[in-house]
């Protein structure tokens, strides 16, 4: 097995795909407005023609690269390239003001690498164990897990609880369309054959994440981004190394744990790591003035999410974040179903993903340290050239999945929906999680009742079920309880 894994990853073709993925990812991440989710959604259709291993590793390369790449524009322009780099931008830009953008980017690169590697190790250690545990999951446990994921959407996504819930609800209602999996009745299909199998997931994703952003770029298509910094002293100094090694590994671990939680993505990983570092630091008052730990922590944290998010995705088919949700689509296209069987029947693939992800992190480190100047140049590509390219990729990509023109219409529709959602400051991620977790909750609820012949006690018969019930209560009521305590002590 080990030999198979090594030969499947350590060959020039796979290396090229990973490097290509990381390179594309860094460029996409560096460009403000193009997020990691969008990058993966855009590259996804290119993997249809590839084998499973190169296809998935290409996507993982884009994911890892984009999460890191966001810090480049965050540091230089104070405009985070991806939401995950928002925390980095705070202190990163202070470095640039002092003319030390090279130093900041070096710290960011090395910390991202450490965070990424920590998460890959965690993925490699935890995922196979969790896959064994996942066999103990039956319909009631999956139902409660999905509800737990949905409750997280409500409490953490976006700035407003109401908008998050609304958006998640939109995703769940979209999932109602199509043949009902338990009784076989068509729902909301309006006798249209295209709607029988439900909303095609990938065109919806491309529309919500990529097309909507491209629409948005049109608004300021002729305003160029100004970059006039000299990049030097990228390799961190001895004292910077000390700080990186103190903060990045812990942040990586925090990021991994946040990645495992369904629905919580890299931006949350970055902010939690940032505030944790502030608590750990001996000089919290200097955060915001441009100190190394304020870059090392969020960058270790957001790249830590990458491996964590794949853990529930591979073992149970539950996405850790929006990118992992797209990767479920990528696996399904290859005829692979995420879940415990993946670990016993496609062992080589699973371990190749682990090893390939490590290689992707190394590629990110090497590319980051050697070619920063090139990536900075990417920032000055005129949007008038970039945006039409994205339009083309969106249309081709959504047509390619089923060679059905209806899907292009779906993509355009959700591009417009996504555009207006962003206009009113709604995050689109909850919609995607709703689209995946909604049907999972529904079908498992009904399947559980079929199994128990209508007896509701089936939801409370196992320890795992009770744990999820407790977690759901904590997520839903936790904020209210802490608020209550705060009011009492105040």
């Amino acid at each position: 097995m080990l030999v198979e894994v090594l030969t499947s990853v350590f060959n020039i073709q796979i290396f090229l795909f990973i490097i290509l993925g990381v390179f594309t990812g860094i460029c996409i991440g560096a460009l403000p407005g193009l997020t990691a989710t969008m990058g993966v959604a855009l590259v996804l259709p290119l993997t249809f023609g590839l084998d499973a291993i190169p296809g998935i590793l290409l996507l993982i390369g884009v994911y890892v690269g984009a999460i890191y790449g966001g810090s480049i524009s965050g540091i230089l322009l104070r405009t985070p390239g991806t939401p995950a780099a928002a925390a980095t931008a705070i202190d990163g830009y202070e470095f640039s003001k002092r003319g030390e953008s090279g130093r900041a980017m070096g710290i960011s690169t090395v910390s991202s690498f450490i965070g990424g590697v920590v998460s890959v190790i965690a993925l490699w250690l935890i995922a196979p164990q969790l896959a064994k545990l996942a066999l103990r999951f039956s319909a009631p446990e999956f139902f409660l897990l999905a509800v737990f994921g949905l409750s997280i959407i409500a409490s953490i996504s976006g700035n407003s609880l109401a908008k998050g819930v609304l958006c998640g609800g939109l995703g769940i209602s979209l999932s109602f369309i199509g043949i009902d999996g338990i009784t076989g009745f068509p729902r909301f299909t309006f006798n249209d054959i295209n709607l029988l199998s439900g909303m095609s997931f990938i065109p919806v994703m491309i529309g919500l994440f990529a097309m909507s952003q491209a629409f948005r770029t049109i608004e300021d298509i002729f305003t160029p981004d100004q970059v006039s910094q000299k990049i030097s002293h990228v390799w961190p100094s001895k004292s910077d190394w000390k700080i990186i090694l103190k903060f990045a590994p812990i942040s990586g671990l925090i990021g991994t744990i946040i990645g495992i939680v369904p629905g919580a993505g890299a931006e949350i990983g970055a902010f939690v790591s940032y505030s944790q570092a502030k608590r750990m630091s001996k000089r919290p008052e200097l955060f915001g003035t441009g100190i190394p730990e304020a870059i090392a922590a969020p960058e270790g944290g957001n790249n830590g999410v990458t491996g964590g998010a794949l853990i529930p995705m591979l073992t149970m088919g539950v996405p850790g974040d929006a990118v992992a949700a797209i990767m479920i689509g990528a696996l399904t296209v290859q005829g692979l179903q995420p879940g415990p069987l993946l670990f016993t029947e496609h062992t080589t693939l699973v371990y190749s993903i682990f090893l390939g992800m490590f290689v992707a992190n190394v590629a990110m480190l090497v590319l980051g340290l050697s070619s920063l100047k090139l990536f900075v140049k990417v920032l000055s590509i005129p949007k008038a050239i970039l945006t039409p390219m994205i339009f083309v990729l969106c249309v081709v990509g959504s047509y390619a999945i089923n060679t059905n023109f209806f899907d292009v219409g779906v993509m355009l529709f959700f591009g417009i929906v996504g555009y207006f959602m962003q206009k009113v400051d709604m995050s689109v991620s909850p919609a995607v999680l709703g689209l995946i977790l909604g049907p999972m909750a529904e079908s498992n609820f009904r399947r559980a009742l079929l199994m128990s012949e209508g007896n509701y006690s089936i939801f409370f018969t196992s320890v795992i079920a009770w744990i999820f019930v407790a977690l759901i209560f904590i997520t839903l009521l936790g904020p209210q309880i802490t608020a209550l305590f705060k009011r009492k002590t105040a």
Partner: protein
């Protein structure tokens, strides 16, 4: 101006179709005179897709003007098969047809699809249902399992309501005079996972789908619902031998629109029946646990008709008919 534009568009449509008609004068001797596409009604990378691609790959030398596989998914296969049934009847569009062709029309989700819209070319492979339980299950034979089902409710997992493995379990229950508690899953893999975890009592998916877990010693097959024993597993009895007259499985084959000239259909049969005998195709099918089961046009046509009747009555009895 607007009128002129509409007129121009209409004119070009008429002329265009006239030219297309003119080009469609095909005779069997020079078939294939143009590019040919094979419609797969399921997504790329799935079981049907892989078989189609392997077969097309083995036949590609007979198509000098190129042959390509096109995935048109949706509606549980209805979208792609409808497209294939209504394509030009000149052999330029060949469809992979599957057992859903004779089940979907009866569940009411076939969107006007009916098996007689196709001229069957040949059957390529078949896969029969395997009644599978956990390795440590107390039941060692199909009889023990069905006897137990008379006194307790057996939870039998399938790959989706109205899907072929649901119908297989229902057909077995009917033959044995018992009732199962059918638990639908979203595909075969989650059903197998649930069986491995001990949450259900049996699954009735194909042997190929449980093969790796059976070889690993986690699951055991009590019987196959096949007309005769499967060559890959000669030790497993058929339900028929044990006294339950039921044989239900899926199959895949090639079909063209029903108005396709017979000489062209014959030419397609001769090309693909050769391809099905090629080493590369046989090797692929063996390595992917698929069983090659070639049937010529006439016997395949008969099978379509008998299966259609069987599923029609079975689905009606199950109350799965919609609307």
């Amino acid at each position: 101006m607007k009128k002129a534009l509409v007129l121009l568009m209409l004119l070009s449509l008429v002329l265009g179709s006239a030219f297309a008609q003119g080009g469609a004068e095909v005779n069997a001797d020079n078939y294939p005179s143009g590019p040919v596409s094979v419609i797969v009604p399921y997504s790329a990378g799935g079981g049907t897709d892989l078989v189609a691609r392997a077969l097309v790959d083995a036949a590609k030398d007979s198509f000098p003007k190129n042959i390509s596989v096109e995935n048109r998914t949706g509606g549980g296969g209805a979208v792609g098969m409808s497209y294939g049934a209504h394509a030009k009847a000149d052999g330029s569009v060949i469809s992979m047809i599957t057992v859903e062709l004779v089940t979907l029309p009866h569940t009411g989700t076939g969107a006007g699809l009916y098996y007689d819209q196709f001229k069957p070319i040949m059957m390529v492979n078949s896969a029969y249902s395997a009644v599978t339980v956990k390795a440590d299950s107390p039941y060692n034979t199909l009889n023990e399992f069905l006897d137990a089902a008379k006194t307790q409710t057996m939870r039998v997992g399938n790959s989706g309501v109205g899907a072929i493995w649901h119908l297989a379990a229902a057909g077995l229950a009917k033959a044995a005079g018992v009732t199962f508690n059918h638990i639908p899953f979203d595909g075969a893999a989650p059903a197998i996972t649930s069986l491995l975890g001990g949450h259900i009592d049996a699954v009735t998916v194909s042997y190929a789908e449980v093969a790796s877990q059976v070889k690993a010693g986690n699951l055991k097959v009590l019987a196959v619902l096949a007309p005769e024993r499967i060559s890959a597993t000669p030790d497993i009895p058929t339900a028929k031998e044990l006294g339950y007259d039921v044989a239900i499985g899926t199959w895949r084959g090639l079909g063209v629109p029903k108005d396709t000239p017979q000489p062209i259909a014959d030419k397609i049969y001769s090309i693909f029946s050769q391809a099905a005998k090629s080493d590369s195709f046989i090797k692929f099918m063996n390595s992917s646990n698929n069983i090659i089961d070639v049937m010529d046009s006439a016997s395949y046509g008969k099978k379509l008709a008998t299966d259609n009747e069987m599923f029609k009555s079975l689905i009606a009895e199950l109350g799965l008919k919609q609307q």
